[in-house]
Symmetry: C2
Subunit: 277 residues, 2 copies
DNA sequence: GTTCCGCATGAATCGATAG
DNA sequence: ACTATCGATTCATGCGGAA
């Protein structure tokens, strides 16, 4: 059995990332601090400075990602003074200019979003999970994230006549009829680019920014066992915990030492459990 | 009873819009031709030219929208050569520069999205409904789009025992128990910025780009009766039909005269039905 | 009057082939 | 090399006729 390693490092990822080799990471899943002029965590990056602040970091990420690797950026712009900020879409443009390919934008639909009421807007129930790649030949293991097929098959495809099973696509060319018999055996479908996950609502002081299901989905989709996953803004370490459980090597970085201490402790506890008889 | 008017005009909206007065429209809901789509009907605007093509039109829209009005733009960028195009997010930036406020981005989750399979991406199941405003003091009638609350209340009511129902009935004598009627009153909740609508896929005549529920939702939310709704890219006229049914005045424009003829006919039929004894 | 079932269709995307 | 066309792939839904 190959050993799985979890590295947890304390400090500014802009500097720490420089220590890692070129083309060594299979997947980056991260949720960087959002621009916010009010809060003081991470020094409170101002919206106007966000792109400028992020580009040196993403430049390192581009260097150390494998050509077959993927970068998933979970982010959502804040509303301020009645408008959505533009720093996220400006960041997309800047990252493309930096050499990234903007492959896709997944929507994370937060089924139980934060409560609240405002006169000019409704509750924000979605975030962007933006997919960037270094090349067009990235790894994607689509079968790993297939879903149970919709209920419509129960009442519909259950009992097709023999003629339907034989029927080819001579009539319409719509394609549906061609391999109709395949559908009888099928019980799974590929997902879409809209992901439904409930938010985490724990009472701990260090709350996770996303539920475990979110990094788990991307780790399944873009890596295999023994691959290496990086989260340069580790926070409470959700990505790391999931990576470890799924037998992926992982690297987590955070500027706040209390997070680092906490995650190290939790990961060690996991190790103890894993090696118990 | 006030008369409700539906104006249906044929031609290039860039020119026709010039005829309308400043500050005369309460809501614009439209789905312009997407880049490189509908080549036969709109000539297929090249992605690189999209912003340039749209800005003169949006300039007119800005002029004729009331200060309290709202502009909803339904659009989605295509994937090409392995990447998402950037013209939509460039358009957002350009519209802000033109003077629009980017208030919100609603997600239309298409539950029955187009099928297909590719090695590098999943099916695209969402579109943007981008909200722009002229001022921060736009009208928003949030109560009009409240939703029945989810399983929580349903389950609660469903699980009430017979004795509970009888007991409550005996107290009030009004058919519904006091407690139950309280639950019913509280049976609504505000929606979020994620909208779930199936796409239109019937085997009827000209197909609509969005289901009636979509413009209906925005018309409820941003207008009241006798207000005026505009769709400069009318197409099969979904927005117009819904506006008429909801007693809003409406203006529809399309460059294709066959669409104009068709919608005119359908709207007239609606009138006949409305005025029948 | 329901329920069931056949059928067509949809702002899709990629890769190969042809001009 | 660059563009246009075509085939292959895939899934949830509304409509209408039948049971």
């Amino acid at each position: 059995m190959k050993e799985i390693k979890s590295q947890i490092l304390s400090g500014d990822c802009k500097e720490i990332l420089k220590k890692f080799d070129d083309n060594s990471i299979d997947l980056i899943v991260t949720s960087p601090p959002y621009a916010d002029r009010r809060k003081n965590t991470y020094g409170g990056i101002k919206p106007e400075m966000y792109v400028e602040w992020f580009l040196p970091i993403s430049n390192e990420l581009l260097r150390l990602l494998k050509p077959t690797g993927t970068f998933i950026l979970n982010i959502k712009e804040k509303a301020e003074d009645g408008e959505r900020h533009t720093y996220v879409i400006e960041l997309i443009l800047a990252l493309r200019k930096q050499g990234w390919l903007w492959t896709e934008e997944f929507i994370w639909h937060k089924k139980n979003c934060y409560p609240g009421k405002w006169p000019n807007r409704f509750r924000d129930a979605w975030e962007r999970c933006i997919q960037f790649n270094k090349t067009r030949n990235f790894n994607m293991y689509q079968e790993e994230v297939m879903l149970p097929i919709g209920d419509w098959t129960n009442g519909r495809l259950k009992n097709l006549s023999e003629t339907d099973k034989i029927r080819d696509n001579s009539k319409s060319g719509s394609g549906f009829g061609k391999n109709i018999s395949n559908w009888l055996k099928r019980d799974k479908v590929y997902p879409t680019n809209v992901l439904h996950f409930a938010t985490v609502c724990n009472n701990k002081n260090h709350s996770a920014v996303f539920p475990e299901g979110l990094p788990e989905w991307f780790i399944k989709l873009f890596t295999k066992e023994s691959d290496t996953v990086l989260d340069p803004f580790m926070g409470s370490g959700t990505t790391l915990k999931v990576a470890k459980r799924m037998k992926r090597n992982s690297i987590g970085i955070d500027i706040q030492s209390e997070y680092v201490t906490m995650v190290k402790k939790e990961i060690q506890e996991t190790e103890l459990i894993l090696f118990e008889p």
